[in-house]
């Protein structure tokens, strides 16, 4: 019985939790290091492609007017 309570949560709350609740709280998202590479993060960021597209458009306008 003790072994069962220690290894799994008891739906009937037959005993006190064996560890404080905070110990299993997930870290905030901002503390999590991304698994993807920085390059991949940049290339999949819409906020990167909007300026790139605008830069390409601006260069085309410049080529046209000059």
């Amino acid at each position: 019985m003790m072994r069962h309570l220690r290894n799994a949560a008891s739906p009937l709350k037959l005993c006190r939790p064996t560890a404080p609740a905070t110990a299993v709280t997930e870290k905030p998202m901002s503390d999590v290091r991304p698994s993807r590479s920085v390059v991949k993060a940049i290339l999949t960021d819409l906020q990167f492609w909007v300026p790139v597209a605008v830069l390409a458009g601006g260069l085309m306008v410049l080529r046209w007017i000059s």
């Binding site: 901002s30 999590v32 290091r33 906020q47 990167f48 300026p51 830069l55 007017i65």
Partner: protein, 438 residues
């Protein structure tokens, strides 16, 4: 986000900025925006001393060289290169954004020179000044600006932006230059394209400052993009290196004034970047667009423009200036609420999570604090070399410069210089006290 939701967020995230601190940062951001307007307007003065006849790319390239010198000198003097390097190491991905923003600026600046050539300043200026309206859109769409703000703040920012645009249009028409329209369609498209590019340039700005980077660090690589792109454009459109060199050496007597314009422009731009950081795109950019008012003051009071203007034109100038000032005032009163600032911090956390930036760094920097980056502000031998080389280059150009053959009103010139310097001192000291230039 409601007040109750803000309270919940505050309990969960004790790093949120306190209300008094938020007010301080807001006031500093607004002050920086207004000071940016004064310095960006003053940057037009040296360029007025240059006799026209230079090609647009040569004008743009020379200004960018002055910008480059200033963008390395001022951060080296204020923070030191070791501090800048430590700051960049916290979020190295932002180097890509800085270079991208610099490329956008260089192309946009060149487009404006073509636009002025083709349709004149009166039409071109309000068209490219629409960048602040696009900046507001990007701020709302990408960075959660105005989220959680009440309707009065929405009305203040959008209404103020539109008022400033209307005032700018009236001023530009009134100060119409005598440049004949050569090719209206091409000039209008060039001016609009410049506005879109500058408006979009605020995406990298805001991204960097939400992450926490100091503007003094960001601009060092921003200017690499500027100079690199401008050099490519100048080589391409001038017909190669030797042709470009011939044009530059032929214009050596006036290059100093363009360099000086670029240098002054950087001081305004630095304040604009701090305005974006602490007041957001939606407030900072419209306020810094008061540069048109300052440019007009320099034109009328110092260079005697509009001295023969009719009464209706002068009425247009006064009316346009008042409308613009009212618009700036309305925006300045639409300060960021706590709930909106909590939304900014959500956007900042999203950036940190995406690119693996330390959350304590982001939280400290968004509150205008230093954060632990493992470096202190101190000047090394390298910093003095940077400052020395830049100063020598500027002195070299000054030695071959010719005094401009143009009459100016010295009294008004001194008065405007004093006012601009006073704003620099007031805003600079407020920024230092509140954020230590972080």
């Amino acid at each position: 986000m409601s007040a109750a939701q803000v309270e919940v967020v505050e309990r969960e995230r004790p790093g949120l900025v306190t209300p008094p601190r938020l007010r301080t940062l807001q006031n500093v951001g607004m002050l920086c925006g207004l000071t940016a307007g004064a310095w960006l307007g003053a940057a037009e003065a040296p360029t007025k001393l240059v006799t026209l006849g230079l090609s647009p790319v040569v004008v743009s390239l020379t200004m960018v060289i002055g910008v480059f010198l200033a963008r390395w000198t001022l951060p080296a003097l204020i923070q030191g290169t070791s501090y800048i390097a430590a700051d960049l190491r916290q979020a190295p991905h932002l180097i890509v954004w800085a270079i991208l923003a610099g490329c956008l600026w260089a192309v946009a600046n060149t487009l404006t020179i073509f636009a002025v050539r083709d349709v004149g300043l009166s039409i071109a200026f309000p068209l490219w000044n629409s960048n602040s309206l696009l900046g507001i859109v990007w701020g709302i769409v990408f960075f959660k600006e105005l989220r959680g703000a009440d309707w009065r703040r929405w009305l203040g920012v959008l209404g103020g932006g539109l008022l400033m645009f209307a005032g700018a249009t009236a001023l530009a028409i009134a100060s119409a230059s005598q440049v004949p329209a050569r090719d209206a369609a091409r000039g209008i498209i060039a001016a609009l394209a410049a506005g879109v590019m500058w408006g979009t340039m605020y995406i990298p700005y805001r991204k960097a400052y939400l992450t926490g980077m100091s503007p003094l660090s960001f601009v060092t690589f921003f200017t690499v993009g500027e100079l690199g792109m401008m050099t490519i454009l100048a080589l391409t459109y001038s017909g190669g290196g030797s042709a470009l060199w011939t044009q530059l050496s032929g214009a050596r007597h006036v290059l100093f004034w363009l360099l000086a314009g670029g240098f002054i422009w950087v001081i305004g731009d630095l304040f604009q970047q701090y305005a974006v950081k602490y007041a957001g795109i939606t407030r900072g950019i419209p306020l810094s667009n008061t540069n048109q008012l300052w440019g007009l003051l320099w034109g009328i009071l110092v260079f005697g423009e509009l001295h023969a203007a009719s009464g209706s034109v002068l009425a247009q100038v006064v009316g346009g200036s008042l409308v613009m000032a009212i618009g700036a005032g309305v925006i300045a009163m639409s300060s960021v609420s706590r709930s909106e600032h909590a939304s900014w911090q959500e956007a900042a956390e999203r950036e940190g999570a995406r690119y693996g930036v330390r959350s304590d760094y982001t939280q400290a920097r968004i509150a205008g604090e230093g954060g632990a980056i493992g470096a202190t502000r101190k000047r090394s031998g390298l910093d003095w070399v940077v400052v020395g080389v830049a100063t020598a280059i500027i002195i070299g150009f000054a030695l071959v410069a010719r005094a401009p053959q143009i009459s100016i009103h010295a009294g008004w010139s001194m008065a405007l210089i004093a006012a601009t310097l006073a704003m620099l001192i007031i805003a600079g000291s407020a920024l230092w006290r509140a954020t230590r230039f972080n």
